[in-house]
Symmetry: C2
DNA sequence: GATCACACGTGATTC
DNA sequence: TGAATCACGTGTGAT
């Protein structure tokens, strides 16, 4: 495949300046001199192929010119770079917001050891009350932000807490509360107990 | 500035195959034939300049070859494109996570109207207790996620809640709790009251 | 010495 | 016409 073919096959039929292979070897003694003629052809072909590849990657192409192809590629790369930078910044800002609640390892270990030392064990009790309300008693490790995360999770599940009592003692967090579905639907005891256990395990 | 100069000024002193401008105009009659000679020179110069611009944008350059410059640009563009896609996905996932706790307008209005209807007014009381503890009583609008956000804010300020009681009534949220600095430092009554007011206003 | 990469000048071609 | 773009073959320095 020659360069001419390549350029001719491009969708935009702009192929000005291209001519068929010009051979000077008329029937004179001027058969061929240079040995790297074929190699040079290969090189040109490769270069043009790459250029077309580049062009195919760039979404907006103002012209088929070699120069403008590269030009468009340059502006496109700049745009992509800016996009990456701004996206990274945005993501980092969001992650900083989320990282406020990072756990501290020492507190984490302290709470568990303290509870073990005092013989306190985690537990989750769920009891049916009148209406759609459930009564909940939980004893869990009192790590930093524990209750906040619990509140977050319940809120996500559209579960409201009422008459909540919250006490910290010996590395443990004792929570008693009434819960109720925000949207009015009934809560099932076993289901909620499993949910709470999952939430606590995730914290 | 000639092409040779350009390539010669590049940091890698690779200028193989470049020779000084070859003029065939020996003192023979072979002065000049082609009229677009200078224009062609300009064109080549422009093209090479763009190529160098492109090269300067690409971080990793394996070789100074024209072909490899374009090659590297191609792989770089692909990498950038993938990066943009993955970053966009990540950001969207995070934003979806954050959007779980979006406020519902109707609830928001309902809470305020309900409180007004029953003549309940927002209030924040802070009283000094023994040690570093403060006793807090708050009556605020009971919007969805209100308490979660309050817990978040206090956690951020390294303030722990103990013996918390939380009741929802008539669109209002009644909170009584003891608070204490997590790091042991004393909390000042007025300061905390201002802080709580700010938090409530922000919610 | 063979290969590679390059710039060069030039005729052809398109707008 | 005239300017712009192109592929081509070639000489040459570098590897």
């Amino acid at each position: 495949m020659s360069l001419d073919d390549l350029c001719f096959n491009a969708e935009s039929g702009n192929n000005r300046g291209r001519m068929g292979r010009r051979r000077y070897d008329n029937d004179e003694n001027q058969t061929f001199k240079s040995k790297n003629l074929e190699a040079e052809r290969k090189r040109r072909e490769k270069l043009s192929t790459r250029l077309l590849m580049l062009r195919s990657l760039v979404p907006i192409v103002t012209n088929m010119n070699k120069a403008t192809i590269i030009d468009d590629a340059i502006t496109y790369i700049k745009k992509l770079q800016e996009e990456v930078v701004s996206l990274t910044q945005e993501l980092q800002e969001v992650e900083v917001t989320l990282e406020i609640s990072k756990p501290k390892v020492d507190e984490l270990v302290d709470a568990a050891e303290e509870m073990k030392k005092w013989g306190i064990q985690e537990e989750v009790q769920v009891t049916q009350m009148n209406g759609n309300k459930l009564w909940v008693k939980m004893i869990i490790e009192n790590k930093r932000g524990t209750f906040r995360k619990l509140a977050e999770s319940l809120d996500t599940c559209s579960i409201a807490m009422m008459d909540t009592n919250l006490t910290a003692i010996k590395g443990a967090l004792v929570i008693t509360t009434c819960i109720q579905g925000m949207d009015g639907e009934a809560l099932e005891v076993h289901q909620i107990k499993q949910l709470l256990l999952e939430i606590v395990r995730a914290i």
